[in-house]
Structures are given as structure tokens and as C-alpha cells.
Symmetry: C2
Subunit: 695 residues, 2 copies
């Protein structure tokens, strides 16, 4: 995957032209000019364009971009919608390579606007000019203190840091910036607006290479170009920069609302989540969690398996914190005897010295003990994160406590994480925020973010997906007969019971005798999908007489229920051994992200419990094994309740072979559903399969 | 259940003696005196006791309680631990009926303290005096502005309201009061300390009868007296006052930490949760959710089935809000055509007029439209709750928006709920808080609290539990043989296959012939529990010869694996028909809350998926049906995948009969485990059962 431009001129241009510069504070052009002149530290050349003014704020002003004597690196367009196309054409003619279109009034207002956007796209393609917007808040580069944005809030949210943000939705993006209030620091923010050209993926790719970004946060409503998004996420993974993502559209209401807001496909939430997991993207459930997790990653890098210490002065809050840690499936550290001894020396006899460490309120009356006791806990080799529940704001008393904790953090190599549980956020809270300790706002949120943090540390990238079969045009499809489909799977290396197609009673009996009893008979027709429901399948036939009777029965049933169907005959197969576990195994095509493998145990596991595991292709045997282990029903494959364990290797090889089959011709295959594949101690066999091809 | 005292003198006494009154601001007695004199509106008689002073702050002071000339209604004890017993004895001798013991240094410090607590209990029992504490923060009666508490925070948290709080854990309780910052109003708060006499249950019972309390909030670490708690919760349910509860101890870490903090049993989390559901107690997952749900209940009463409208000015935030509503399983209202027409009149053409209503940022530039458009939505007959996502603090712009929304609330009969998503809480946030609109702090929390609110509206009380079999002393137990156990169940009205006990080969064959083939043989011994695992069961025997062989086999297996076991013979039973669904059905005794029925589908549903449903006894057929419907596997009982539906009535009758059996002798029965009970189209049959009796 290539096609990513270097976007650094958008974020740190040497020269800029502001088209639609204005002196009026309330206008888009006026606010943008003020952000550049009054609130940014922009040292490059700034050209102003205004159709009616020759001078603004003492600076010369051109009537059109065409009048400029040099080619600025970046154009920022702030004129009303009606003037945007002319400005763009001027920019293209002059040779400007990067344009931010702040103006709104395009695709978001209706069909006429969408037509103008198509013109913009054509111009961008023809000229090679890269467009960001329209209908976007522009660029906020906090680390360099540069704002090419009309936002009146620009000057309020300027706490620098290592987190880069690319969002869909300006309100939600700005909400993330307002988390600076609790000490989060951000490198930059962009929100992609109508995405006529540059998409969230392009900005993620830029941040993967930007030296001042260490953690990437994103809010997604719809992924416009799946393979492009996957490529950007791969670049971030390769650069070792975690992505924390909130994806809107995990319920029908959310999908509908996001689609109507962005006019783009939101894709399947399950497939999105699977892709995120494969790429090491941390998916969060709400916007405050995005801040929790990103800020934790900005403070330290997880290795997986981190153990937690709880340190507090309220027994109840410590107990609740321990409960949250347990409910999140995390592990409390066992403190070393030296740690406990150090605590015992400083704390009263009725303090709890285990983990949680409940100092009791002695820390409120004698805050001097905090630094040493907290340092003892933080320096315990078993401890990798300290959770500090703070249920109350006690004014100056709490402030002193916070100051001691901040002092302890300066000497600790691991993150000490305050959990500010009170609705009252006074001086102590601000003290933590100022120090960049980003207080969590609830114990549950804290435990959940620890879980995301630690899980990310344990993430091992497998083969990263590229979006095989994504974005194909609509095409007619055709379904193979069971015999054809199985032949294709057999050729691909999957184990399929031996079988023959036969068209007469005697040929069927002869085929059965040749294969060896017991056998199965199935009506063979690409036009009959639910064969057993209508009597088209006969199982466990033990001799030729039974086969003859069954031939008559299944052909009669087919004639009765599907009189118009083309019948190829009957498929005779060796009966699979009894026992083992039946699974559903399929590959289907997500329109946005491409081919996805799904597996799950058969019967109620799929139908009732939706116990399914998914991966974008390719899937190799190792990834297949991880898929199976994710299933709640996995112990059944290991031989629960006295059954023999299944041959997992054989099952995983089948899954890998299915993946390879689709990888070889992603544009030709629409869907393959194997239901069931039987997994037993003796291997894995395809018992039924429906293959659907495109074109 | 009786034994509840009227606790109103604790909360609104006519006369009080403060034992340990002091002038020193830093002392417990000094702070308590200041709270009464400086921050309370106490109009009753106040007596002061101090062993060394004859006058404090211009008021006469007695040396001992015994010196008082009248009997105060309430004594508040603030002397150091060493002086507490003397003060209590004086109070008892004088005839004081209610005592708050603020002093700490008792059970929480070790064994010596626990011995003093036992003395307190004996004195309370002998005198009839009711004790609240020790080691408690006393009484905060906000609606009457009375503080019998040493807390220096008393005067900061005085926003009155309809929510009463009884907590275990002072830090967590005070945390709830600090939520006044977002506009929550509270009637009163008490936190029960070491519970030598009065428990959380007593305070819940008081609040059930207190006219100024409409919603009860509680934080529980351990329930000391299960039946007392159940009785208090029943009183609240009967008074129509919802209880919102946070129970610490839902993980092993939490249970251990809570037990070490309170030195009491925390009980089983699953049983607690089942009891809560039966009593209509709303269980929340974290302390901020308790505020969310209680404040919503303080603003309106749910009927169940409420539908939600989303109203906001950020498309992204509206879409995320819709997603949260969908993920919480809630329903968005369909707006009436008149509503949409009213919106269209005021909003720009590109606004979204469906639900979510995305006004676009026109509300920021022209806040005049808010009141009418919001009123149109709030007055739509389909709408019962309005969710207003506010992603940003835009300073005075947001303040104006908030003021218009507050104005709309004053004219709306339904709750308009702002969701303040930003970390920045400025004037707009305070405006909502001042108006008592209690902003939610995240979309996820808002949706979750709506869910709790609406579910509570749909709650229908069944038979409320009383704690049958709770709190029994330790006793030896004995297990009945299968035949004895089954006989007991048959006598109780459950269907059990016909069976005979036989001790010889020929008697067994004769019994089988008499019962009719096919039969089952099981080794009969109360000392062998896992019969099938060791070869003690033979199924599906079709003739006398098979029975003779099986007799030899099972007795040989028993002799081999359990050579010392007393063998009663073999149990011969008619083989149950094939088909149907196997379930686990049991009653066991929770030490705190008493007998609990558990049911779940057999096999992997119980072992792998922990798909179980629980109720405290009694369970009638209607409640049994609700239990079954809670199971994720319930569709299997309805005849999934072509199977015949089970006879649910027969199964529910069996469950009710099991409940009645235990209700009749709760002290005698320790546990009954039926595993499996077979449910089919032809009824429900007990296939195996282990009955354990006490004593």
C-alpha cells in the first residue's frame, strides 16, 4: 500500500496563504487570521487574500491567489462556499500542494453540495493538490503552537504533549482537547470534515511518522477506504505507536445516526472490532475512556502482565478499588516483605499493610508519611502501576496530600495514577492535573483503562490485514453445488469426506459399496440450500438396500418441495465418524474492510449465544488457534466432560487452507460457509459447504 | 419481622447531650460542638458534658451525664475510646434512649476493641438503649440542617433534597454528598461504623417511613443480619421508595478487602444480586452511577417502557448518544409529525429533525431557538426522557444555552437530562447543577442510568423474600441416599421415576421386570456421590439378562472404588424417555440471606457459561417461570432447532414444590441438588438428587 503523501506542510508550513482573510472577529476568516497572528507562533511567510481589501491589520492583501508572486506551501480557505471552487482552481494553477478548506456548505447540506465536492475531487486528482476538508476545523498543532483554524477555543487548549488526534466530528474532537483540564497533553488535532480527499487514515499515517506523536487517538464514524485505513494502522503498529479508537456505530441506532451524519458506510461493528484487535488498535467504549487510555499510554509503555498496587486512606474506597481490579480481571501485586516492613514503620498499627494498602487517615493529619510509604509501594519490584483512590476533596488538606503524591511520582519509574472520585475538583485535583498525572474520574474507568493498557502490552502482532477483497464493485454472484464447492475445498487442502455424484438408484448403491458403509446421501442441486429441512438428506445408511430406499426418498422429497429445481443427482459420501465437535467456519466479504473469517461452535453456540470469533484475512494456523481460544466454548474442543480432545492442529490447518484459498482469488470469491466442519480426535472434516462466487 | 425502633430522635431530637464537648477546634468534641452551634439550626435543648470544664463557649458544662437534671432524647459521645463505656453506662442509668458514638478505637483496632463492643451490645440489650456507632461520622440531617457529626465538611455539603443515604464506609458516603456539586440534593446521611447495634437495615427502615425521603441510596460492604436487611428493603418497597445500592465484594479481591475492612461476612455476590432484583433494589456498578440513578429517580418516577429523545447541537455527539442508547437496549421515541414540523420551522434546512435531533450549532449563534425546539421535543407524547449531549464548554455561549435549557425544564413535565461530556466544568455546568438538573458525566453513564431507571419502572414485586434459613448456627450435616432423597422429593410433589431398592441379582431383575423395561441401575449408597464417574450407573437396560450383568458390574465397581462404603443395594428405575432438556435445580443456604434456589440448563451451560438464575425462597410457579426466562439458554426449553417445546408449567410446578418443601422446614434442610431434572414435552422428572440435612 502506498499513496500516502507527506502531510508535514499541513502541520508546519513554511508559507501560508489565507484566502478570505478578514478583520471581522466574528467571521471564519477573521477568527482564523487572529489565531495565526495573535495565538500562534508562526514564523513563516503569511499571505492574505481578500477580494475587496488591499490591506488588513496593516498587512498587504491580494485580490486573488493568482496574484501572489510566490507559491505558498499551504492554502487555508475561509471564504463562503460559493467562492471556494474559484480559490481552489487558483491554488491549483499556482502550484499550491496543500489546501485546508475550512468553509462549510457542501456535502453536509445536500445533493448540490455533493456535486461541488465531486468537482473538488476531480481537481485534486488532476493537479496532485491534497485537500483537507471542507467543513473541517483545520489544523491545531499544539506542540508547535500553530493554529490554522477558525476555532475561538484554539487559544484555550494549548497544553502540549505526545498524543495526536485525528477525529471525525469536530465537537467530539474538541471535547478530547478539553480533557487538558485534567492534565492530558496533546501534540496536534485534526478533524477530517467531509473527507473529499484526505481521510482519517492519511492523518494516522502522518502521525505514525511524526516524531512528537507517541500515542494516536481517533474517533471514527465511518471508514471511507478500508485498505487505506488498514495501511495507516499498520504503519502506526510498525512505528510502535498505539492507536486508541472510539468507533461510533455499535448499535443499530448508532449506525443509522452516524451514517446520516457523515453520509458514509459505517461497516459492521463486529468486523471493525476484529480488525482493531488484529492491528493492536485499542477500542474504547466512550470518549472519556479514550482519554483515560491514551493518557496512560503517554505516561508509560505496557509490557503485558502488569500488577497493580492500591494505595489510599479510605478503607471503603480501597475495598471498592480492589473490587474493580478483580472485576476487570486484573492482578494485585503481592508486596515484598521489605515493602510491608517499610510501611509498618510509618503507619499506625491498625493500617492495612497488604494490597490494598489502607494508610488510614493518618495521611491527612500527617502528610509527611505519604512520600515514603508511597515510594516503598512504587519501588516494590512486583508493582507496575499504583492506583490511588481519592474519594474526597478536603480542600487544603487534600492539596497537601496531592503535592506529596506528585513529589513521589517524580522519583518513581512507574505511573502513580490518582483516581479522583469526587465531583468536587479543587486545588488537589488541579495539582495532579498540572503535574500531568491525569486523574481518572472513577474507579471503574481506572480499572478498565488499566485493562486496556495491560492487554495492549500483551498484544503480539500476527500477519497484519491488508483489506483483501475490500471495495469491489457490485457484481452478480452464483452459488456452487455442494459437490462443486466441496471439490474446491478439497483441492485447497481441506479434508472432505470421500464422495461420488450418482444419478440412478443402482449407480448410487454401487458408489456406496465402493466408498464403504455407512454412507450419507444428499440431494445434489445448487438450487436447494436447506436440504435437511425438506428431507433431502439421509444419514448413516448401513447397506445397499438402505441406500436404494434413501435414493427414492430424497429424490421424491426434492421433486415435491422444489419441483422446478435443477437436480444433479445425489451426493454419496462416507459417513463421518460419530463424536467430535461441530463448528461453523466461514469467510465473507465486508464491503469496507474485505474478507473476514468467522468461526464458532455449532448449534446453540452460534444461534443462541453468538459465540463467534472473527479475523480479517489472511489467517494462518497460529492466528486460527488464537481465534478458537477466544471462544467461550473453547474448552469443548479440549475435550470437556470426558470427551477426547479434538485435533486442534488439523482444525487450524483447515482454517489456514481456507484463508489461502480466498487470498489466491479475493475478487472471485464472495463467500464460503462451511457448516458444519467436524473437529474430532481424528482431524477436521468439511461436512457441508456453500461456496458463492462473484461474476 | 419487627424489632425496628423509631429512629426519628436520632435525626431530629428535642434535646441532646454532647459528651466530650470541647472548645478545641481540632478535637472531635470541638468540631461536633461547632457543627451544632455554628452550622446547624438546632432549636432543642443542648447539654454539654466535659469532665474538666464547668463552662464552654459561655454554656454551662456538666462533669458527667449522671449530673443532668433532665433526660435528653439523644446522647452524642465524642470522648476518647477509654471513656466511652462509662458515658454509656451513665446514659443507660439516666434513661437515655438513643446514643451516637462518634469515638473510634474499638473493633477496627483489634481484639481488645471487639471485647469492649461486646460490652456495649450487652448494655444496649439490657437497657433498651439504641446505639449508633462507634467509629461513625454521626448524623447529617440536611433537610433540617442538623449535624451531630464531627466532620469539618458538614457545613460544605448542605444542599437539601429527597435522597436519603445509609452507607458503610464514611469516605464513600461523604463522596456521595460531594456530588451536590452537580446539583444532587440529599435529605440525610448516616454511615454505620462498627454496627454494634443499629445497622444499615435500621436506617433504611427509618427512611422508608421518613416523609422527606423519596429515594434511598446505600453502599454496603457486608450485610450483618440478612433477614433484617430484607425486612427493611421490603418496607421501602411497600412505601414505594426505590433503593439504589452499591455492594462491594463482586470479585475475590473486593470480597477479601471488604471483609478485612469491616470484619463481617460479605456474602455471595450472586445471591446478593438476586435478592436485590427480587426486592426491586437497583444495583449499580460504581459510586458515580449511584448518584446518576438516584438523582434521576429524585426527578421523576419511571413507569417502564420509557422512550428517549436525543437533542443536541453536535452531530457527532448525537450519533454517539444514539449508539449508547442502542447499546443499552433502550428505545428512541418516534417523533410525531407535529414535532418535526415545529422543529423544521425553527431550525436550518440541514439540521437533522429525526431522533436524534441535531439542531446544528445554530443554537450557539441563535440560542433563542432552543426553548421552543426543546419544548416541542419534550412535549411530544412519545417522549419520556430527553438526553442532551453537551460535548463542550464554550464559556458564556454554553452558559446561555444552559439557561435556555433550564427555562425549558421549568415548563416540561419530563426530565431533560444534560450530559456534560467535557472535563471543563464552567458556568453552563454550574447553571444545570444549580437548577437541580444533575448533569450526567458521560454518555455511557447516562444511558446506563436510563436503563436502571426504566427497568425499575417495569419491576413487578413477586413474593418478597424474608430470609428463610438465614443466620442458623453451625450444625453437622448428613447426606441422604439417592433413594431416600428421591422419596422426599416425591412426597413433596415432584415427579420422580418409579424405582425399587434391591439387594440381590434376582431381586433386581424382578424389580426391573415389575417396573417395565428399559431400566436404569444405580449403586445405592449415601457414601458414594459421583456414581457415574466410577461405573456405578448402568443406563438403558432392555431385558432381565442385561440387568443381571449390570448388577454384577455396578456392585463390583463400588467394591473396587469405595471398599469401605456402606452399600444399601442398587436402585432400579424406569429409564426416562429420551429427548428433552436437562437442568440443574438446587436450593442451598446462603449464611447471610438464607435459602436460595438456583436453576440452569445442564452441561456446558452451567459448567462453561455459568448461565444460572437465582432467587431467595419462597419461589412460586410464576417466579419460577421468570427465573427460567432469565436464562440465555431459555429458547432451548421452548423447542429450538425443531425439538418439541418442554412442558414449562410442569417444570415450574416442580420448582415451586421444591421451594415449598424447604419452606416447611428451613432449619432442617441444608441443601438439595437435583442434577439433572429432565424437562420434556411430557413433564419434568428428577433423575438424580442429593439431599443434605442439618443435625
Amino acid at each position: 500500500m502506498s499513496g500516502f503523501s507527506d502531510l508535514s506542510p499541513l502541520f508546519d508550513p513554511r508559507s501560508v496563504v489565507l484566502v478570505g482573510a478578514s478583520e471581522r472577529a466574528a467571521s471564519v476568516g477573521g477568527r482564523t487570521l487572529s489565531n495565526i497572528l495573535d495565538h500562534s507562533e508562526f514564523r513563516g511567510a503569511l499571505h492574505l487574500v481578500n477580494v475587496t481589501r488591499s490591506e488588513i491589520r496593516g498587512r498587504a492583501c491580494h485580490r486573488r491567489v493568482a496574484d501572489l508572486s510566490e507559491v505558498p506551501e499551504l492554502a487555508v480557505i475561509a471564504v463562503p462556499a460559493a467562492g471556494v471552487m474559484e480559490a481552489l482552481r487558483d491554488c491549483a494553477a499556482l502550484g499550491v500542494k496543500y489546501v485546508i478548506i475550512l468553509s462549510s456548505g457542501f456535502g453536509e447540506t445536500g445533493e448540490a453540495g455533493r456535486l461541488v465536492e465531486a468537482e473538488m475531487q476531480a481537481l485534486a486528482r488532476a493537479s496532485g493538490m491534497r485537500l483537507y476538508g471542507p467543513n473541517c476545523p483545520g489544523v491545531t498543532n499544539i506542540n508547535k503552537r500553530l493554529g490554522f483554524t477558525f476555532s475561538p477555543a484554539f487559544s484555550h487548549d494549548l497544553r502540549p504533549g505526545p498524543i495526536g488526534l485525528a477525529t471525525q466530528g469536530g465537537g467530539l474532537g474538541r471535547n478530547l482537547l478539553q480533557s487538558m483540564e485534567r492534565g492530558t497533553g496533546f501534540a496536534l488535532w485534526c478533524s477530517t470534515g467531509n473527507e473529499v480527499d484526505l481521510q482519517v487514515a492519511d492523518f494516522i499515517h502522518y502521525m505514525a511518522g511524526a516524531p512528537d506523536v507517541r500515542v494516536i487517538g481517533t474517533i471514527l464514524e465511518g471508514i471511507k477506504d478500508g485498505p487505506r485505513f488498514l495501511a495507516a494502522a499498520r504503519a502506526a503498529a510498525e512505528a510502535g505507536k498505539p492507536i486508541v479508537a472510539l468507533k461510533v456505530g455499535r448499535s443499530a441506532y448508532g449506525t443509522r445516526a452516524a451514517a446520516s451524519h457523515t453520509a458514509s458506510l459505517t461497516g459492521s461493528a463486529e468486523v471493525n472490532s476484529a480488525a482493531f484487535r488484529q492491528l493492536g488498535i485499542i477500542e474504547v467504549d466512550d470518549i472519556d475512556e479514550l482519554v483515560d487510555v491514551a493518557s496512560l499510554l503517554a505516561r508509560g509503555r505496557p509490557r503485558g502482565g502488569e500488577r497493580i498496587a492500591i494505595f489510599g486512606s479510605s478503607g471503603g474506597a480501597c475495598a471498592l478499588a480492589a473490587d474493580m481490579v478483580g472485576q476487570a480481571g486484573l492482578v494485585l501485586a503481592d508486596l515484598a516483605p521489605e515493602t510491608t516492613a517499610a510501611l509498618a514503620e510509618k503507619l499506625p498499627p491498625y493500617a492495612a499493610l497488604g494490597n490494598p494498602v489502607d494508610t488510614t487517615t493518618v495521611t491527612l493529619t500527617n502528610p509527611g508519611v505519604i512520600e515514603e510509604t508511597l515510594a516503598a509501594v512504587a519501588n516494590d519490584p512486583a508493582v507496575s502501576l499504583v492506583m490511588m483512590p481519592m474519594p474526597l476533596d478536603y480542600g487544603s488538606v487534600s492539596q497537601t496530600v496531592a503535592e506529596r503524591m506528585v513529589a513521589a511520582q517524580t522519583r518513581s519509574p512507574i505511573p502513580l495514577v490518582p483516581v479522583w472520585m469526587s465531583e468536587r475538583t479543587g486545588a488537589a485535583y488541579r495539582c495532579f492535573a498540572e503535574a500531568g498525572m491525569v486523574p481518572m474520574r472513577s474507579l471503574r474507568n481506572a480499572a478498565k483503562s488499566f485493562r486496556c493498557f495491560i492487554d495492549h502490552g500483551a498484544w503480539q502482532p500476527g500477519i497484519l490485514p491488508r483489506g483483501l477483497g475490500a471495495g469491489l464493485p457490485e457484481a452478480p454472484t452464483r452459488t456452487l453445488s455442494e459437490a462443486e464447492g466441496k471439490a474446491m475445498l478439497r483441492a485447497a487442502g481441506l479434508s472432505v469426506p470421500q464422495g461420488r455424484l450418482a444419478t440412478s438408484t443402482e449407480a448410487t448403491a454401487a458408489a456406496a459399496t465402493e466408498l464403504g458403509f455407512p454412507v450419507v446421501l444428499k440431494i445434489a442441486s445448487a438450487e436447494i440450500l436447506h436440504k435437511s429441512d425438506m428431507g433431502g438428506v439421509a444419514l448413516n445408511l448401513r447397506d445397499a438396500a438402505a441406500v436404494r430406499d434413501a435414493f427414492a426418498a430424497v429424490t421424491r422429497a426434492a421433486a415435491q418441495h422444489h419441483p422446478a429445481a435443477r437436480i444433479d443427482g445425489v451426493l454419496v459420501e462416507r459417513m463421518a465418524p460419530s463424536g467430535g465437535v461441530e463448528l461453523l467456519l466461514s469467510v465473507s466479504r465486508d464491503p469496507v474492510l474485505g474478507h473476514v473469517m468467522t468461526c464458532g461452535l455449532g448449534g446453540i453456540h452460534v444461534e443462541l449465544l453468538r459465540d463467534l470469533s472473527r479475523r480479517l484475512l489472511p489467517v494462518d494456523a497460529a492466528e486460527a488457534q488464537r481465534m478458537l481460544r477466544e471462544l467461550r466454548g473453547f474448552p469443548l474442543l479440549q475435550g470437556m466432560r470426558g470427551a477426547a480432545p479434538c485435533d486442534l492442529d488439523a482444525l487450524c490447518q483447515s482454517m489456514a487452507a481456507l484463508s489461502a484459498l480466498v487470498e489466491a482469488q479475493p475478487e472471485r470469491i464472495e463467500e464460503i460457509e462451511i457448516n458444519p466442519i467436524r473437529s474430532g480426535a481424528d482431524g477436521a472434516q468439511v461436512l457441508d459447504a456453500v461456496v458463492t462466487l462473484r461474476g
